[in-house]
């Protein structure tokens, strides 16, 4: 990745132009031709630096509910818990973290009832629990377009 690639990524993270020829518009801003923007983006995409290029929907605006959950998983039950939690397409993130509650995952589903059903199924399938369910009371910030830094 050179400086131009980094500029391109930073720009296209936040300011993707929604118009007929978006890559031409990006090129105009950065002093590149449409072809060069397309060429560079394809290469960056293939390298995996860009994980996806498209829309992030607000689950609430689509009528979905979402939550953050945590559960204590003893070492012997870890594989079963990973398998149970990850089996749901409703679970988008699942991490091991350094706390008594050592498994943290997010659930997005069409309703709160649906989420409760999923949590109950996970507890039963993996033999873990209780899962603590921490749906957001208030959102102060969601910002996924951090500036690209060297490192």
């Amino acid at each position: 990745m050179d400086q131009t690639d980094k500029k391109l990524i930073t720009y296209i993270q936040a300011g993707f132009p929604v118009c007929a020829r978006p890559y031409a518009a990006v090129g105009e801003k950065l002093g590149l031709s449409e072809d060069e923007v397309i060429e560079r983006l394809r290469t960056i995409k293939d390298s995996g630096e860009i994980r996806r290029m498209g829309a992030s929907f607000d689950s609430r605006k689509l009528g979905y509910s979402s939550t953050l959950c945590a559960v204590h998983v003893p070492a012997g039950k870890l594989d079963a818990a990973i398998a149970a939690v990850n089996s749901y397409h409703n679970v988008t993130h699942n991490y091991e973290r350094n706390h008594h509650y050592n498994m943290w995952f997010t659930v997005i589903a069409p309703s709160k009832e649906h989420i409760n059903e999923i949590l109950q199924e996970i507890e039963e399938q993996a033999g873990v629990g209780p899962i603590i369910n921490l749906p957001a009371i208030k959102l102060f910030k969601i910002q996924v377009d951090l500036p690209v830094i060297d490192g």
Binding site: D58, H100, L134
Partner: protein, 161 residues
């Protein structure tokens, strides 16, 4: 919830939540497969951005690949009456990408969550210490992710729902 979007809008959402084409007329290509014109697709995406239905449109990057080597989920025990004020201060820090108020639970006394990104775990600790001083809250923890078991983008309007 199926009532919120029409079937055609749901089909468009399904396409936009995947990768849009990296080719000269991406919205024309998307429209073609849905029986919509390029103008209709562009107008709908703009309307969804305007209404906040689309939160963000563009490239999603792998933070860890781009220099943010560490991230910490910080959790803070803040008096409920101060949660609003403190939440805003935490959210204003440039190192904080996400900030939420959440309920407390059995064995979990923290009600504010802030995700901190930095180059190293030590820097995450420094950022948290600085924030702690700023908000006057000393009861907090940093939870680092030691393993990633799953990370995907949500796919809406698919059969399993």
């Amino acid at each position: 919830m199926a009532d919120i979007l029409t079937e055609r809008e749901q089909a468009l959402a399904r396409m936009l939540q995947d990768d849009i084409p990296i080719s000269p007329r991406p919205f024309a290509e998307i429209g073609e497969s849905l029986g919509m014109t390029e103008d209709e697709v562009v107008a709908k995406v703009k309307a969804w951005l305007e209404s906040g239905t689309i939160r963000r449109f563009g490239a999603m990057v792998r933070h860890q690949k781009l220099g943010y080597k560490a991230n910490a989920m910080t959790a803070w025990d803040v008096p409920d009456g101060k949660a609003e004020e403190v939440g805003r201060i935490l959210a204003s820090a440039s190192e904080v990408s996400h900030c939420y108020q959440r309920p407390r639970a059995e064995g979990w006394s923290y009600n504010l969550f802030a995700m901190i990104h930095a180059a190293t775990p030590e820097e995450c600790h420094q950022v948290a210490a600085r924030l702690s001083e700023k908000i006057g809250i000393e009861d907090y923890e940093l939870l680092f992710s030691s393993r990633e078991f799953k990370k995907i983008s949500m796919k809406y309007f698919i059969e399993q729902d």
